[in-house]
């Protein structure tokens, strides 16, 4: 795919994602019914859960692109990896902000050691390391390689972190834990959640492609300035 096409696809997807997201907001404010026990605060779920899902998708993609980058050493794979990782950071941050807000209202504390919340927090730090490593080597190519290693180890560590934090909670049960999602969700809430998942995913893919085109342009600029300076 040519770089123009990628840019166009990214723009279109991002636009669709934004409009779709507007529809989701409308649904979650005016259409969906209010949950009985938690009241209005439960509507944070329509942002929180899709943000978590999108950040996991993004980090997974970043690790996948990183692994193939180490194998094939194609610069484009590294650009894709960093674009996905940045998207992952954004959505993980959204998840980490909405989680405590919801938690404070729903069960009175900002932070609970809820496994998915903990996992996302640790992932956020793993990818903070990814960006720190990337930007702190003299030789940028080395930074890319090292960052790829961080992403791969991070991704393969996820199952262990996930199992251990779930298992930790089973040993130390939380006082009140309400499981908001799952098949027990009433129909209109499920519809809104699925709509939101779709909107976030499409928005992420659009942003990812836009970010990827930007990275392409940057490297092109780099090459051009190098040629003029020689």
């Amino acid at each position: 795919m040519s770089s123009k096409k990628i840019l166009l696809t990214g723009t279109v997807l991002a636009m669709i994602g934004l409009i779709w997201l507007g529809a989701v907001y409308w649904m979650s404010f005016f259409w969906v019914s209010t949950e009985v026990t938690q009241g209005i605060a439960q509507r944070i779920m329509y942002v929180h859960v899709p943000a978590a899902w999108t950040s996991f998708l993004a980090f997974g993609l970043a690790a996948l692109f990183s692994a193939v980058y180490l194998w094939l050493r194609d610069e484009r794979l590294d650009r894709a990896a960093v674009s996905a990782a940045e998207g992952g950071m954004v959505f993980a941050t959204i998840m980490l902000i909405t989680g405590p807000l919801w938690g404070k209202i729903a069960w009175g504390t900002y932070w609970t050691w809820e496994p998915r919340l903990t996992l996302t927090l640790l992932l956020w730090f793993i990818f903070l390391g990814y960006f720190l490593v990337r930007s702190s080597t003299e030789n940028p190519e080395k930074g890319k390689r090292h960052a790829a290693v961080v992403a791969i180890v991070g991704a393969l560590d996820i199952p262990f972190i996930h199992l251990s934090v779930i298992w930790f909670r089973s040993l130390h049960p939380e006082p009140v834990v309400i499981k908001p999602e799952g098949p027990t969700l009433p129909g209109d809430m499920l519809t809104t959640l699925l709509m939101s998942l779709g909107a976030f995913t499409v928005l992420f893919l659009g942003l990812f492609l836009l970010r990827y085109s930007l990275e392409n342009l940057r490297s092109e600029l780099d090459t051009r300035s190098r040629h003029t300076s020689v």
Partner: protein
């Protein structure tokens, strides 16, 4: 000075035996060390920008050039320590993949860093590297090398207690421990006192035994030219001049500066 007592691990026979009889003829004229289109980029910086070279058995190539010309990067590419951004290196006609450990078995590298451990004795250092290279008769080889370089008295001394000249001699012994037939020297004269330079000089001329192929990078114009069979001048990642030593006039210093300035 460097008796070929080491076991070659049979690689001469096992690796370079040609598949066809007519190829045999070819392999004797084939270059030992060949590189084509070698490029190495560090991000937006190009250190090595398209180097071609071809060296036969017994050739001694000296590379001169100003700082930052890419000489050290080129040596690292030939040594298999640096992954080429583009281009390929062949040893005896065999294309080499980066990360192929056999590459290192055939090449000896001496840099201005000694690669030695200060807290190990001279003998322990050599034994350590001898074992890494999988030499079958480490004890004999180490003893011979120490004797050759006049270090047998200090064999048990920690390297940190040795004088700089002795360390440099030991570094030479380390580089040639596995009797490589390709030797890469990265500014071996850096930081040497006159007596150590003399020892180095002797060892380097012994390397011209017709059996080995040597590539040396140096700032020392007179020594570099005296040893060379082939000379290259490198600037901005490229060979700006390359030729036989015989083609050079009397005043190499003037010629060198002419070439560099003419290029700049």
């Amino acid at each position: 000075m460097w008796p070929g007592t080491q076991d070659w691990g049979g690689w001469l026979t096992s690796v370079s035996v040609p598949a066809h009889p007519e190829a045999d003829e070819k392999s004797s004229t084939n270059p030992v060390l060949r590189a084509q289109g070698l490029v190495r980029e560090y991000g937006s910086v190009i250190a090595v920008d398209g180097i071609d070279l071809s060296l036969a058995k017994g050739e001694f190539l000296t590379i001169f050039g100003p700082n930052g010309a890419g000489k050290t990067s080129l040596l690292a590419l030939l040594a298999g320590a640096l992954r080429p951004s583009r281009g390929q290196v062949w040893l005896r006609g065999e294309a080499l993949d980066f990360g192929e450990v056999e590459w290192h078995r055939r090449i000896g590298v001496l840099s201005h860093q000694t690669f030695l451990y200060g807290h190990l004795s001279a003998e322990e250092n050599l034994r350590f590297y001898g074992q890494l290279f999988g030499l079958s008769d480490v004890d004999d080889v180490v003893r011979d090398k120490l004797q050759h370089l006049g270090l047998q008295e200090r064999a048990a001394s920690l390297v940190r207690d040795l004088s700089h000249g002795m360390r440099q001699r030991l570094a030479l012994a380390r580089a040639l421990l596995h009797d490589p037939d390709i030797v890469l020297l990265d500014e071996p004269y850096t930081g040497l006192d006159p007596s150590a330079a003399l020892v180095l000089q002797g060892v380097l001329s012994d390397l011209r035994d017709g059996r080995r192929t040597v590539v040396m990078v140096t700032h020392n114009l007179s020594e570099g030219v005296a040893l060379a069979t082939t000379v290259a001048i490198m600037n901005c990642g490229r060979f700006v001049w390359q030729g036989k030593r015989a083609e050079l006039g009397n005043d190499f210093g003037q010629f060198y500066h002419g070439v560099i300035e003419g290029h700049g």
